[in-house]
Amino acid sequence: MTDLTELGVAQIRDGVAGGDFTAVELAEAFNANVAAAQEALNAFIIATPEKAVEAAAATDAKRARGEALGKMGGVPIGMKDLFATFDVQTTAASHMLEGFKPQYESTVSQKLWDAGAGMLGKLNLDQFAMGSSNETSYFGNVISPWKRSDGGNAALAPGGSSGGSSAALAARLCPAATGTDTGGSIRQPAAFTGTTGIKPTYGRCSRWGVVAFASSLDQAGPMARSVQDCAIMLEAMAGFDAKDSTSLDLPVPNWEAALSGDMKGKKVGIPKEYRVDGLDDDVAKSWDDGIAWLKDAGAEIVEISLPHTKYALPTYYIIAPAEASSNLARYDGVRYGLRDLPDGANLQDMYAATRAAGFGPEVKRRILIGTYVLSAGFYDAYYTQAQKVRALIAQDFAQAFEQCDVILAPTAPSAAFGLGENVDDPLKMYLNDVFAVPASLAGLPAMSVPAGLNREGLPLGLQVIGKAFDEQGVLNAGLALEQRAQFAAKPEKWW
């Protein structure tokens, strides 16, 4: 019998429904992998094996009663620890929220449970989703299961902020996981680990109950090991939510049913501004491979221009920290979470002590940047200007999409880097998101699919960016790439 933990969402759903195995035995197999890898990979902040088994048993019972199973019936998943889960510790990987047990369930996680999924545990991430390497978590680094093929044993970054999600997927600790993407936090970790993830159009998935980083950018999405699995899971996660004013009031399409890798009649745009000087050779090559594959799938390739691309990163690093500086003001030690109350402290002292102890250096850096760009005298020069540039970036895409249906680009400028390599240089770290951020600023759907391995044997991802609301176009182009890339590599188990 095949190893159950190699199975993806569709296979599990069909296998459980068809009686090939029970949901409980499958959940237990994943629970075992989670437990075995925890010390080495640190992908989870907490494991919840009993939750996984409980949901699986419910699915099995439903099947026994002859009832129809949900879209995610019998599929155990990892839940990024940014989603509030009822009575289960929800930390955003921060000391601030250590021990915090929400008495509510995020809309997205509730929808997944309603669709029959079960929870293997809460996945590690960069603190408050701020980071590109999962090195800012209060609960320690996540170690990528991948190793370079140079014989060295350097610990590699799984990407961030959804680094727990990506590492767990690559290491077969779960068949699917939730991610959130503010400026690449689904796509870049997927690219680093040879996994697949889609950030849908802004507003597709409710933000209610997701710890906020930058409200106008935050968007939840699925991460899995195939395009089809992402489509299934996205259907379960998406949908209008009256509790989120920015939620899209649109029906959720049946993306899985309409999946097709046939690109005949489709135009694929190649943005010339993404072909930056000194682009990594392997990344450039994988991009060329992608172009060839989509051509092979029947697409016409057109060169497009996104002239404001070079301003995207600075724009992002004004808007996201500005929003974060305000969103994180609620962590003040008054009502929940950490309170540091030194002897004789007044209210101001308590704020200072609590926030000094509760936030890590990267979070503090962004709060400071955000506070600065919103402050009197600097607001217009930074924040207002950034909003204008953001509008221009969105306009770039709108004009490009008059000439093409989807855009193909690399997901990240390099493969996974070693832990610690970029921690002393925030700017270098931020550059990881240079290809991911423009689509975030424009609120567009974008996904990363594995394209192959670089010369060091590490995965590289290709990014497909689509028109607003056209997740189908993105998934279909992603499928065309997946069918041709034939990416079957997986990390050799060392943990």
Binding site: A92, W208, V210, S215, S216, S245, T246, S326, R335, Y379
Partner: protein, 500 residues
């Protein structure tokens, strides 16, 4: 326009006062601006707090349509521009009563733009003529919670019941130049809010509070530096604040000092203001558009519904009472002063007209005069207000009909009203039971008149010699002889005829 002559007399001459008011009015609605929590006053601490109000991680605001509707209706009532596109901004600062660490407000694009209201001339108060006071804007925002410092020796407690309740901030132009004008403005604004039903206007419960901006200048000079006195919670205190603050500023300026732009607090026990924080300590609120909320866009149907739901407003009602009902300006002002009064009057008027089978305009004066001079007086004596009146307007209308039809006289009606208050019985039943029906039979009255004239032959002679003032004496004697029940009109006619 006739300007106010209010001046502060300083050692160096007269000073003018310039006043602008920011009124925070709590929106009447069942739930908060961005959450479904209740808004009732005086509930147990922290019993009306949702996850959103407590700013739990991942919680998001959703605008409450009713709060927006009330603010739009208020804007329409002051004939203001309604902005079909507005937006919410975050005002960032840390305080323990502010769970989000920011207040959701509207700085850049308020819901309601330029409007105005008119304060009426009041010679006695020093307002020589009607005056239009400009209103710059109304925006909606969240209220904060409340800190309680008296519950524990070393700690403060937080009550979040008020956190997130919807407020309208109504910002006037600096158009007021005397404490009386400012007082009249607040009273008029409160009256309009109560008519519209968008705020209960209860200043003692904090559902309406004023930030008072005051500066002084020599006539003809540009505006001086202003101070802002926060959270003043009665019309009288607003006036006191201005009086105190204006003379304090004059004292400072005349002794060579400078006015510091600062926030001050009013102390009701001393009637004075004191400094709270200066501009240098002012927060940098880092306003920016709230990314959790989309811009607020209002469609025509919504605006039409808001407009259609507006009641007749105070100025229009007062004009109608004078123009259509023929009431005096004074009576019209009294009867339109607040919602309870005009509601009572209009109900009474309808009942009275139908009880006497007349048009409302034909009985309006009777009803108005009786309500103001008899009924309010009687209520006052009992220490009761209209809401807890012992009799209904139907009962009052029956009493007025008895007077109108000549069944009882006005003076008997007073007596009947007293009995109604005591017993709750209907007027007709009391008149019947106590035999108070007026005597209109000319024969019976003539007989009494003849008796009186015969018994007072000397006075009749004096009257005929020209001492016409004695007429009243004869009326009084006749009425007395008839135990007050003679129809005064008939008595007059017969006396006139007999005395020649």
């Amino acid at each position: 326009m006739t300007e106010s002559t209010y001046r502060i007399q300083g050692a160096t001459g007269d000073w003018e006062v310039v006043i602008g008011l920011e009124v925070h009015a709590q929106v009447t609605s069942n739930s908060k601006l961005f959450s479904s929590s209740a808004t009732a006053f005086g509930a147990e601490p922290n019993s009306q707090v949702s996850l959103i109000d407590a700013a739990m991680p991942g919680m998001l605001p959703v605008p409450n349509r009713e709060c927006i509707r009330q603010a739009v209706r208020t804007g329409m009532a002051i004939e203001a521009q309604i902005n079909k596109w507005s937006r919410f901004d975050r005002k960032n600062y840390f305080y323990a009563d502010l769970p989000q660490g920011y207040q959701i407000s509207q700085l850049y694009h308020p819901l309601v733009g330029e409007g105005s209201l008119t304060i009426e001339a009041d010679e006695k108060a020093g307002i020589p003529a009607d005056k239009v006071i400009g209103i710059e804007r109304i925006h909606v925002e969240q209220d904060a919670g409340k800190l309680m410092h008296d519950q524990h020796p070393t700690m403060s407690y937080v009550d979040l019941n008020r956190s997130g309740v919807a407020l309208m901030e109504i910002v006037s132009r600096p158009d007021m130049t005397s404490p009386a004008e400012a007082g009249a403005y607040v009273a008029k604004l409160r009256q309009i809010l109560r008519y519209v039903g968008s705020c209960d206007g209860n200043m003692d419960q904090g559902s309406m509070r004023c930030d008072v901006n005051v500066s002084v200048r020599k006539p003809g000079e540009p505006f001086g530096t202003r101070t802002e006195t926060k959270n003043v919670n009665s019309v009288r205190f607003v006036m006191q604040t201005i009086e105190h603050e204006a003379s304090r500023q004059v004292d400072v300026l005349e002794s060579g000092g400078k006015i510091v732009q600062e926030t001050r607090l009013f102390d009701p026990t001393t009637g004075s203001t004191r400094s709270m924080r200066s501009k240098e300590d002012a927060h940098d609120y880092r306003y920016f558009p709230d990314p959790d909320l989309l811009p607020l866009e209002l469609d025509d149907a919504f605006l039409e519904e808001c407009r259609a739901s507006l009641p007749e407003l105070p100025d229009a009602k007062r004009a109608r009472y004078v123009g259509e009902l023929g009431l005096s300006a004074y009576n019209a002002a009294v009867l339109t002063a607040d919602v309870e009064t005009f509601a009572w009057f209009e109900a009474l008027l309808a009942e009275t007209a139908s009880a006497q089978d007349k048009a409302p305009a034909d009985v309006a004066k009777q009803a108005a005069n009786w309500l103001i001079s008899e009924f309010f007086g009687a209520l006052n004596k009992l220490g009761k207000s209209l809401e807890d009146s012992p009799i209904s307007h139907e009962q009052a209308a029956e009493l007025l009909a008895l007077v109108g039809k000549g069944t009882i006289s006005g003076s008997i009606a007073k007596q009947v009203l007293e009995t109604m208050f005591e017993t709750g019985d209907n007027a007709g039943a009391i008149v019947e039971r106590e035999g108070l029906k007026q005597e209109s039979d000319t024969g019976a009255i003539e007989a009494k008149v003849d008796e009186i004239l015969a018994a007072n032959a000397d006075k009749v002679a004096q009257y005929k010699d020209g001492k016409v003032a004695l007429f009243g004496f004869f009326v009084g004697q006749t009425m007395k002889a008839m135990a007050g029940k003679g129809n005064p009109q008939v008595v007059n006619e017969i006396l006139k005829a007999k005395l020649g």
